[in-house]
Every structure is written in structure tokens, then in C-alpha cells.
């Protein structure tokens, strides 16, 4: 990767253009009244087509994607994004469909929704799905709206609380707050699982439900899930499943069979659609038949959700089919455990259990701290990985550990790739022990070195 310093505005020159439009053959419409017109044209760049192409190509080369290299970003399931998915999503009959066209004109699209609904319901053990949510957090919010609607429709007005484990994704409590629910945190035990005794003490008629990730964000299966489901249902609450960690469960366990009533899937995680630099995603929400009665009462996005993403996910499901579904889940778990076993002597492993698709280290065993030189942190390890051509794992999450380093390899990485990563992680551990400054100053060969983030927040420059 090489540093490229231009912004599109700096390529602009009066008199250049990058478009061609048909000759206007219409009589001129009346001018807008002066008080409705903007005073001056917007200062948009004036650039030719080849300059635009080269500029964005240059920008792309300062970026790291799954197609560039290994991207073990925990909880994000950065699996390979199949190219056939892109091909089918661009078909003209789909791309040209207006969202307000009635169903008799959009039978192909309707069939995709119907087939996807069937497939996802089967994979998860849910009754039905809505595809309106555009991302995982949007799905959480939608699911919680459905949870509240379920209680309200039963005349059960007093359920104002939602229980969220301390290990939960930040979106869980945030979605609950947006949905007007009070967040009650339940602690994790030493072994990383929900403290069921503590949970019992929180359960009463004021609880709308609980939000859980299973496996949780430590990559650990909540072994008491059936008991938890019984307890929550026992006080009239519902169970929400955050599907961010669904990948290892494919072909083995279904949220519906664990007792969950509502859930979302991240199609951009489990179902291989590209993350797009932070979207577009898709967060379809599955639910039981009872909960589905509330669906007509909510509308959470403009039209039918991110149809283009749903098309890609459907192509993935057709490729994987019933024959390979289980392999996806199992191989993701195999790879994660293999990495964990190969590195646990040099990185602190707080919980030694068999993990699912991901696991969490708590910093280095030997961080190299000596005299006045502070030891290498998780941030330092992450930055050093960039030098070796890897994306860093998720860092400082979950919040249960101070030096969390969360690794999720996914099933689409070969053993050779994983072994090379392990070798580099061991090398970095060695470097840390000998010369932590080398890590403090990393990255050394990325397009930029560590930027001053404090200055960015203190004196925000947010536009050109």
C-alpha cells in the first residue's frame, strides 16, 4: 500500500466535466420563483472521467479488504464474499425494479423474499422473517419493537426492562435504549457465561425480555441456555437472539430450538455479503408465530429493506445448500480452536474452554515491560499485525478484560493462511518481549503511521 494524498476537490478545475447527458428536447419549464432557488451553485468538483477513475483507484489501494488478506476481526465474520453474488445482484430486472411496483409486476423479487424466508426460517427454527432492517443493530431495534408490541397486544403494559449481559455487543443496550426500554445488566461468571443465579434475582413481571448472543462474545456457548429460556419464559419475558455470532451454529443448533422467540441475522456476516466498508448490510428479523402478529404495526425502513443484499445472501444459500451448511459452522469452530491452541502459550487465555467461532486473549504473556519502557499492549500487537499484512483482530472488546484481543478466523481461510498468521503472532510476541518500542511505534510500513486521534476529536475538521 502506498500513501496517496489527494482529495477529489484538489483535482477540480473549472471547465472540466465527467458526465454526458442527452440533449434536452423539451420546451423550457417555468423557472422556479427566485425565493425558492439556492443563491449559488454548490461547489462540487469539476473533474474528467479518467481523473475520477484514477483517484478512486488510488484511494482503494490504501484499503485492506477480505480479498487483500486475512481479516480475523472478531464478531464481524469476515468470510469470503463470493463473486457470483455480485453478478446476480446486478441483473437488470432486479436493479431496475421500483419499490412501489405492485406484486404482480415484481414476481421475481417476491419469490426471492419467499425463498429466503423459508430458508432462514429453516436454518434458525423461526416461524417467519421480516427483511426490512438494513443492518444488525437495525434488526435488534426492530426485534425489540416486536417484543414490546407482543406484550402490549396482550395488555401487558408494565414490562419496561430488558436484561443484557455485560459481555453483550454495544448495540444491544443502545438498541434497547432507542426502543424505550430500561437496560439491566447481568454479570458474567468467571467462566465467561451468564450468572444464572444473578439472572434469577433480576427476573420479575417488569422484564420484557433478555438479549443474548450464543455463542457469546467470548466465543463460548451458553451451556445453561435451556434453563435460562425456562426462567425468562417463566416470568412472561421473551428471549432475543443477537445473530451476530450465528456462523458457528449453522447446521448444528437453531436459535428457535434453544428457546429464542425473536432474533436477527447479519446477512453481511453469516451469509457472505460484502461488508462494503461499513454497509450496506441487512439484518432480517426472525420470530415466532405469536410475535409475528405484531409485524403489521411497525415500519422500520422506507421500502423492503436492502434488497440488493438479500439477493446476494440468497445466492450464497443456494451455493452452500443443505450439503455444506454444517461444514460452514464446524470449520469456523475448528479454525478458531486451532489458532487458540497454537498461541495460548504466548498470549494470555483467560478462559481455556473449547470455543466456537471466536475466542478472546487478554494481552501478551510477556509484554516486554522493563525499566521505564512500558509493555506492549493489545493495541500495539494490532498495529504490528498491519506491518505483516494482516488486518487486526477486534481489540478492547468485550469489556470483561483489559487487553481483549478477539480473533475470528472464519471457515473460508485455508490452514496455510492460518498457520502463517500463527507464525506472525508468535513472532510479534517475541518482538514484544525483546523490544516493545518496536510495537509501540507500529505500524512501520502502512500508508500512514498512527494518527493523532486526540487532536481529531479536540479540534474537529469534518469537511474540506
Amino acid at each position: 500500500m502506498k500513501y496517496y494524498d489527494k482529495l477529489i476537490f484538489e483535482l477540480s478545475k473549472e471547465g472540466r466535466k465527467g458526465y454526458s447527458l442527452p440533449v434536452n428536447r423539451f420546451p423550457a419549464a417555468p423557472e422556479l420563483p427566485l425565493q425558492l432557488r439556492r443563491a449559488a451553485s454548490p461547489r462540487l468538483p469539476e473533474v474528467s472521467e479518467p481523473e475520477v477513475v484514477r483517484h478512486y483507484n488510488n484511494l482503494s489501494q490504501m484499503n485492506f479488504g477480505v480479498d487483500t488478506g486475512f481479516y480475523p476481526l472478531g464478531s464481524c465474520t469476515m468470510k469470503y464474499n463470493p463473486k457470483i453474488n455480485e453478478e446476480v445482484a446486478a441483473l437488470p430486472g432486479f436493479a431496475g425494479l421500483h419499490p412501489l411496483m405492485p406484486a404482480h409486476l415484481t414476481q421475481g423479487a417476491c419469490k426471492v423474499y419467499e425463498q429466503m424466508n423459508k430458508a432462514l426460517s429453516e436454518i434458525t427454527g423461526m416461524h417467519t422473517f421480516t427483511f426490512d432492517p438494513c443492518a444488525g443493530a437495525h434488526g435488534e431495534l426492530t426485534g425489540l419493537m416486536l417484543m414490546r408490541t407482543y406484550h402490549m397486544n396482550r395488555g401487558d403494559q408494565g414490562r419496561t426492562k430488558v436484561i443484557v449481559p455485560d459481555s453483550a455487543h454495544g448495540t444491544n443496550p443502545a438498541s434497547a435504549a432507542v426502543c424505550g426500554l430500561e437496560v439491566v445488566e447481568v454479570k458474567s461468571l468467571e467462566n465467561g457465561r451468564i450468572d444464572v443465579e444473578a439472572l434469577k434475582s433480576l427476573l420479575d413481571q417488569s422484564v420484557a425480555g433478555i438479549m443474548m448472543t450464543n455463542p457469546n462474545t467470548l466465543g463460548l456457548f451458553e451451556t445453561q441456555i435451556l434453563e435460562i429460556a425456562q426462567l425468562v419464559h417463566g416470568v412472561g419475558g421473551l428471549l432475543y437472539y443477537d445473530g451476530a455470532n450465528m456462523n458457528p451454529m449453522l447446521g448444528v443448533v437453531r436459535p428457535g430450538d434453544m428457546g429464542f422467540d425473536i432474533m436477527h441475522l447479519n446477512l453481511h456476516k453469516t451469509f457472505s455479503t460484502p461488508h462494503g466498508g461499513g454497509g450496506p448490510g441487512s439484518g432480517p428479523v426472525g420470530m415466532t408465530e405469536e410475535v409475528a402478529k405484531g409485524l403489521p404495526q411497525i415500519k422500520v425502513s422506507g421500502f423492503h429493506g436492502n434488497f440488493g443484499v438479500i439477493l446476494r445472501a440468497y445466492a450464497y444459500i443456494l451455493s452452500i445448500g443443505r450439503q455444506h451448511l454444517r461444514e460452514v459452522g464446524q470449520y469456523s469452530v475448528l479454525s478458531a480452536n486451532y489458532i487458540k491452541e497454537c498461541l495460548k502459550d504466548v498470549y494470555k487465555l483467560p478462559i481455556a474452554d473449547v470455543c466456537k467461532h471466536e475466542f478472546v486473549f487478554d494481552g501478551l504473556v510477556n509484554d516486554g515491560a522493563h525499566d521505564d519502557i512500558p509493555g506492549a499492549t493489545t493495541l500495539d500487537v494490532a498495529k504490528r499485525l498491519l506491518d505483516y499484512g494482516y488486518h487486526a483482530p477486534t481489540i478492547y472488546f468485550p469489556l470483561l478484560f483489559h487487553q481483549a484481543l478477539m480473533i475470528e478466523p472464519t471457515e473460508t481461510e485455508s490452514k496455510e493462511t492460518i498457520d502463517a498468521f500463527i507464525a506472525v503472532m508468535r513472532l510479534i510476541a517475541q518482538e514484544a518481549a525483546q523490544d516493545p518500542m518496536l510495537l509501540h511505534n507500529a505500524p512501520h510500513n502502512a500508508p500512514i503511521s498512527r494518527p493523532d486521534e486526540t487532536a481529531a476529536a479536540r479540534n474537529p475538521i469534518l469537511k474540506y
Binding site: L36, G170, V354
Partner: protein, 441 residues
Amino acid sequence: MPHPYLPHTQADIQAMLEKIGVKTLDDLYADVPQACRKKGAYALPDAMSEQEIRDCFAALDAMNARLKVFVGQGAYDHYTPSVIPYLTQRSEFITAYTPYQCEISQGTLRYIFEYQSLICELTGLDVANASMYDGPTAAAEAVMMCTECVRKRNRVLLSATLLPHVLQVIQTYAKFHGVDITVVPAQDGQSSLGAIRAELSKEDVAGVVVPSLNRYGIVEDLTGFADTIHTAKALLVQYCDPSALAVVKTPGEWGADIAVGDGQPLGLPLCYGGPYVGFMAVKKDYMRKMPGRIVGQTADKEGRRAFVLTLQAREQHIKREKATSNICSNESLMALWVIIYLSLMGPEGLAEVNRISADGAHYLHDELLKTGKFQEVFPGKPFLKEFVLKPLEEAIALQHRLEAAGFFAALPTPEGYVSFCVTEKRSKEEIDQLVAAVKEG
């Protein structure tokens, strides 16, 4: 048989299991209670080869009607330069995630910074975020933001002239978030300052949402709105078509505090409603109350210009339930789509898009009136690419008649009108054919 996306061989699997110290893949799930495991096979389709997938989608694709689109109502059939899909398909853009590791994400961070800059330029406001899911959800976030910015006030007014789906999404969010909503009736096809003033007098209103171009296609005259609303200590939120902002008075010029809308008219394909991209821009005072990611400029250790995610203390991964929003993934790639579109079109191109669309729409409007099959609803009201008429025949029958002739046009509205839209993609010949089809009925 191995699958092309799954590289592990049987030998790899054996070696890895040995290292882990278990015998089989199933052993890795030993902690999962038998009672909740899936019994029996999954009822899913058989795995398809790539050619079979291609054939399957070609068949699905062929089941969709291919009509000339003469409807807008929040989704506009504007032209997409071929450069955009080409560039947005670059692996380094599309297969990256949120730019958490800024040193190897400068491509994403730079285009978001460019995007924020141009959203500010179009809206005339100070600060824009990195994107929202779509226009309606951006509007819903703006409504919740109003109640955060204006203390102890919990009611927001929505103009009845907002697009129907925008009203519905805001109402859904507001119901659960606990914001009281009042839909203020329109007057003569536009937001009513008188009706808004009457509501403001109750001194409980945190914000007022009005459209720039409304559900009838009318360009709203907001003279006096900002003063009235600000005097009542509430915020003015404007819902805008960003393409039209190249020519119409901007939220900044009207005195709005927050501008939101959908970026779809900036060259995004219709794609049955998504992915689109919501945008939000605000006055500087409200920067720290904004939802979503924000990219800022700074320098690296060598003093080189660098870009980072900033003001993150607002966000869910830091603040959890106290965050300004729950949004995490947004529509980054569609923001790239928008910035490339705006770069190619430039000020002259965007003005030209508006001119051709408005000229075509007025031509269609006048030709339709000449058929004698419609009444004007809002005579003399200024519009650009979209307008409504009252059909003398049953609206739905007219729509179906035009479908049969190859047009998606004359969309019936809840008021009993039909809505038309013309973009620069519609030729004069197509419009003449549409008018001929109207006459034939």
C-alpha cells in the same frame, strides 16, 4: 465433495483436530446440550453449481416486469454513470469493513470525508455524518435528536406533506422511543405555517419536520418557518431530495438546524428499494448530539494528512445505552456511490439533471392535462420532476392500463390523486407514448 468457498481438506481437518486434542468435529460441540440440537436434516435446497445459480437467478430476473418508470415517491430512476458500479466493485472497497484500523483504511476514510464535505455543500449546513440506513430512518433519528437537543420537550411536529413512508417510519420509531408526534395538516399542498404556529404555542415542541420537495412534488416555500420555530425554541428539520438541492434553496439558507434525506436520487439504482443511503447534516451546535460515524481530518506522526473515525464518545460501542443512537453498520459503500456520482456530475451536470427532469415533467404535465382526462390539483404551485393530478377515471384502472402499455406510471396516492415523475432518463418519445396510452383509454 469439497465446496469452492471452503479450503479445508480432510488432512487439514485431521491435523487441526489433533492439535486441539479432540477426535472429531462434533467433539467441538460437546458443550451444546443434546436437547437443543437440530434433529434430522435441514430442509434446504440442494447445493447448486455456479452455472445453476446463474440460471436460477436469470429465471427469477425474467419474472420481473420491465417497465418505463414514471413514478418517484421517494425512489427516482436517475441515470447511473458506468464508472460508479465499476469503482464501487473494487475489492479493497467492497470487502473491507468499518475503518477500525485507520492506518490501512485511508481509502474508506477519505471517501467518507469527501462525502461528508459534499453533503454539507449540498445542504448548506456545517457537519454531516458518514451515512444512515435510508432517508426515512435518518428522519426518525433526527426526530429523536430534537428531543435530546431541546430539553424537557418531547413532542415533534411532522408536516402532512412528507412522503407517506417517511411519516410511517418516524411514527414507528417515535412510538417506541416515547416521542409524541403530531401530524400537522397541509394547506394548499404545502406545509402550513399557521397550523405549526398554533401547535408551537403549547411550548412543548422540540422540533418540526418539513419537506423540501414534498409528496406532491411541490417545492415548498418555507418563508418565515425558521424564525417562527426558533422563536418557539424548537428545531427545524428539513427532509430533502439531495439531487434537487443543487437548484433549490438549501436547508442552510432556510435556516434549518438539521437536514436529512435519502441519497438514492444521486445515481443509485432503484433496486426494489435498497440499498439506499440516508444522509444527515446539522448545524455545528448539534454536532455532538449526532448519530452515526463521523470521519475527521488529523495528521500522522510524520505530519502527513490522515483521516480517522472521530467524536466516537457519542457511539454505541463506547457509550452503550447512553449512546446517541444504536447505529453501527451504515451504508458506507452507497456513500462512495454518491461521492463518485457527485464528482462525475459536478455542479453543471447536477443542474442539467434537474433541468432536463423538470422540463420533461412539465411537458408531461401539460400534455396530460390536454388529454382532458385529469384535473389540476395544485395549479400554479412550483414543481421540478414530480407532480400529482386528479384522474377523471378510477386511479387504479388508469395505473393498470398504463402498465399494460409498458409504463409504471400514475401511482395512486391516498388522497385519490395519481403521482407522476420524469427524470432525465425519460425521452420525449417515451413521454409521447405514455400520453398516447393515456388517451387510448
